[in-house]
Symmetry: C2
């Protein structure tokens, strides 16, 4: 009952969410303080150029844009490659990411700075490039907010291609941070709970979510947050899928929860609305045939949670 | 196929691992800068006293020790309660955790300072207290290593009962860190892979593990780490259970992986040994009837992964 590997589908649900298509070989065990420089000296090296929540994309009239720039082009666009992080190697060679000051004026006609969320929502790059974006954006955001040692306050320095920082004063090692977030769909056999955060686009409803805290299992975090946000107690909780989420460096962990009661008491500080939806309404929201309401798009893990339940009957 | 909530067991595997038995109501949505002081003024408040990887336990001749100290006793043992973090409320009132300088000399006869790992391995406290230990230890370790702002290097201050720090100079908010770690059992229908880390007790073999990196799904992290550590490519990967792991603040995420080949190439920098084990050998290791080798104890998520596979045939 609790061992179900050989009954599972060949491709797990996590393979179908946005940001999950990264094909870069990280070569984590080979990282050294020379990794990034060695990669940059490879003529096939390509860089992602990112800054202020945006990435530079090259539009060449193709269906999808390119986010990969050769070294000379990256330098011409203002990249200081001494700060580049090495994401790894794909079939075409090394891939790095580096911060640039992104200004729309002065960019060549074919290059645009696009915020990460639009790249994802509008499928502007292919799945592999979107995965690389998630890796690069998370790492660069971590470096930007961890230039100083949390233990002693002195400056720290990047090491092993960007996968470590070391304090210049006390030598404490710091590693990239990834914040696990539970995102959960509370269901009965006939209905599910969707809510609206205060920052959501108008008319969008989604699964509830919150950070997993120190000292709790994934499933207990799902129960706690569901109760806090909706007043509903959960029984069974099962994992469904995960998604890298580069805002700034989260790991979304998607679960289903079994509602033990049906009376919702929404946390109005957090949510604008939170209510039960029946299967037919949810299916029309997923497929955009609902007259007013909709769910997050197919790249979002919430979409996959909602669809997996809605199509399960 | 991908929606299996109503086929799941009533209690998920995560409920049976060590550190998972926390019954404290965190009341996360009610946290304020007054929370800890209000809790301390409640005569039913009890404190966990921790320092240097050890916790103070009171032995009263019972089967299990107590880790809960009333305020007066905590102060007498040297706790500076201005730095206490509020874990939440259990049936007996508020529970807090605070750092103390733990010295064995000077402690009353009935009180011992015990390292976290021994508390867990020897079941010295009940499941609820072990869960509270994980929560308190993780939070206190985070505070100790994040006294300064990573962004600007200036001192930060504890807020909302210990669930936030705010920089005194740039006002950046910092939240507790939880590091997701993948721990995975690679299997075929007949054999599984176990390895020995260089720091393991002699003769213990366990599942392989490693940190999930920015920009990867749980399942892809399992595939990457399995390949790096054993040279084995994985097909299907399924989640099994999770475990809070307060060394210092990890979340172990346990999965099964389907081996696509059988030729192991161990990462000898990381592992002392890594090989295939058949079901009979593994069962004897779990049950301690093997002449020499053994697995981690029943509180460990690795034990549950190994047992769930071994008993599945």
């Amino acid at each position: 009952m609790t061992f179900r590997l050989f009954d599972a589908p060949q491709a797990e649900p996590s393979q179908f969410v946005g940001f999950a298509g990264n094909v870069i070989d990280r070569q984590a065990e080979k990282r050294s303080d020379e990794s990034a420089n060695t990669a940059l000296s490879d003529p096939s090296a390509r860089l992602l150029l990112m800054g202020g929540g945006r990435i530079l994309l090259k539009f060449n009239g193709d269906a999808v844009a390119s986010s990969y720039f050769p070294l000379a082009e990256a330098k011409a666009l203002g990249a200081d490659v001494r700060d580049a992080v090495l994401l790894g190697v794909d079939d075409n060679g090394p891939v790095l990411a580096v911060s640039v000051v992104v200004e729309d004026e002065g960019l060549p006609e074919s290059i645009k700075a696009v915020d990460y969320r639009s790249v994802y929502m509008q499928n502007l790059v292919d799945a592999g490039a979107l995965g690389a974006l998630a890796q690069g954006a998370s790492l660069l955001a971590w470096h930007a907010s961890h230039r100083f040692c949390g233990k002693c306050g002195q400056p720290s320095e990047m090491r092993i291609g960007g996968y470590k920082r070391v304090c210049t004063a006390c030598a404490t090692e710091h590693f990239p941070r990834t914040d696990p977030v539970a995102i959960m769909l509370t269901v009965t056999r006939d209905r599910c709970i969707l809510g609206r955060g205060r920052h959501f686009p108008p008319n969008m409803y989604s699964a509830l979510a919150g950070f997993i805290e120190p000292g709790e299992t994934i499933e207990n975090a799902v129960r706690r947050e569901t109760f806090e946000e909706s007043g509903i107690r959960l029984g069974r909780v099962v994992y469904h899928a995960s998604q890298p989420w580069p805002f700034p460096y989260s790991l979304m962990i998607g679960c289903f929860g079994e509602a033990l009661d049906e009376n919702i008491t929404p946390d109005t500080a957090e949510l604008e609305d939170c209510r039960w939806f029946d299967r037919a309404e949810v299916l029309s929201m997923l497929d955009k045939t609902h007259p007013t309401l909709f769910t997050p798009p197919p790249g979002a893990i919430a979409h996959h949670l909602i669809r997996a339940w809605a199509e399960s009957a």
